[in-house]
């Protein structure tokens, strides 16, 4: 019992020695990335509830396994977790459709927050304009393959390097460049003429 107490005191001192700044920077990192992650998860999953679950699970896993990683590695690591979560979701969906496709899917319980009116929403005209532009982009991104979509969003929007994107997608750097080029070609053909 004495041994346990001594070890607890030692490890307690060790954990308490971690700077408070580390915990703050971890939360700051998650706060800076959560919205983009949600958007990418939404593109990958196609459903808002799934996108929320994906982001939450990714955050939990990141905090559990990679909280002590250096600042410059965190973004790639977080998106790697998110990428794997999206792939797992696709596998589960495929399996579920094969096994239980003849059953009717149950609607998930609605979050009570959804029923609350948002007082800060933009005006209807602006929302219509925005929704039209973004909706067209969204449709285009959903029509390309998952790997091309991920390569384009991570490289072009999140600013990851070719090497970091290859780490996230677990493929070669050449594959990343190929996927990115094909995605850009499709978007150019789909949007280039009249968009935005």
């Amino acid at each position: 019992m004495q041994t346990f107490v001594i070890q607890r005191q030692f490890l307690g001192e060790r954990f308490s020695a971690l700077p408070e700044l580390n915990a703050q920077s971890l939360e700051g990192f998650l706060k800076s990335i959560e919205r983009q992650a949600y958007r990418i998860a939404l593109f990958g999953s196609g459903r808002e509830e799934d996108a929320h679950d994906l982001v939450q699970e990714s955050m939990l896993r990141f905090v559990t396994h990679y909280a002590k990683k250096p600042q410059q590695e965190r973004k790639a690591l977080f998106y790697r977790i998110l990428h794997n979560q999206i792939k797992d979701l696709h596998r589960k969906r495929t399996l579920r459709e094969r096994c239980f496709g003849w059953l009717t899917a149950e609607e998930p319980a609605e979050d009570p927050l959804h029923s609350l009116a948002d007082q800060n929403e933009p005006g209807a005209e602006y929302a219509l304009q925005l929704s039209g532009t973004f909706a067209e982009l969204e449709r285009a991104l959903k029509q390309i393959s998952f790997r091309q979509q991920q390569a384009f969003l991570l490289r072009a929007w999140e600013g990851l390097s070719v090497a970091e994107t290859a780490l996230v997608m677990k493929c070669s750097q050449g594959s990343v460049k190929t996927h990115y080029a094909r995605a850009l070609e499709y978007l150019r053909n789909k949007l280039g003429g009249h968009w935005p």
């Binding site: 955050m59 979050d111 925005l130 973004f134 982009l137």
Partner: protein
């Protein structure tokens, strides 16, 4: 990448940035909640380590103590026999007893037998001389006992 592609990519990125800036409050609140739960779970993991790390450690310590206690050799009894006391109180050295202990044990048995035989001397049956023989018997028993004692003393002295 051409200038046209650069402009397209920039426009797409701006649209995406705008979309996340204009996320509805419900979605923003849920994301905030998920973030706070993730941070809170990290503190919970530390506390769980204290508890679940200490339980097997305590159990292992208790098991080790039990094994050591149960396999400890028994200490010899502090109560000495009468023969041990006679050896320890004797003027002779311990090596003396270690070398010839079996002989002396046999010898002491023989002396005990002789003493018993002397004590068990029976008078010749006769009513008239019973009184005389009682005294004679007792004298003979005493003499027999003395003889056995003399033999013991002689042997002890000889040894």
């Amino acid at each position: 990448m051409s200038d046209r592609d650069d402009k397209l990519v920039k426009a797409i990125c701006q649209s995406l940035e705008q979309s996340v800036d204009d996320l509805d409050r419900v979605t923003a609140t849920r994301l905030q909640r998920a973030r706070q739960q993730a941070i809170a779970s990290r503190h919970g993991q530390r506390n769980r380590w204290w508890i679940w790390g200490g339980v097997p450690l305590s159990g292992l310590t208790a098991l080790l103590a039990f094994l050591l206690w149960s396999t400890a050799p028994e200490l010899p009894s502090a109560v000495l026999d009468a023969s041990d006391l006679s050896i320890l109180s004797s003027a002779e050295s311990l090596e003396f007893y270690q070398e010839e202990i079996e002989f002396y044990e046999w010898l002491s048995e023989v002396m005990e037998d002789e003493k018993d035989l002397s004590d068990q001397y029976r008078p010749v049956p006769g009513a008239a001389d019973s009184q005389r023989f009682v005294g004679a018997t007792s004298r003979a028993a005493a003499g027999g006992g003395r003889i056995a004692e003399q033999r013991v003393a002689r042997i002890s002295g000889f040894i």
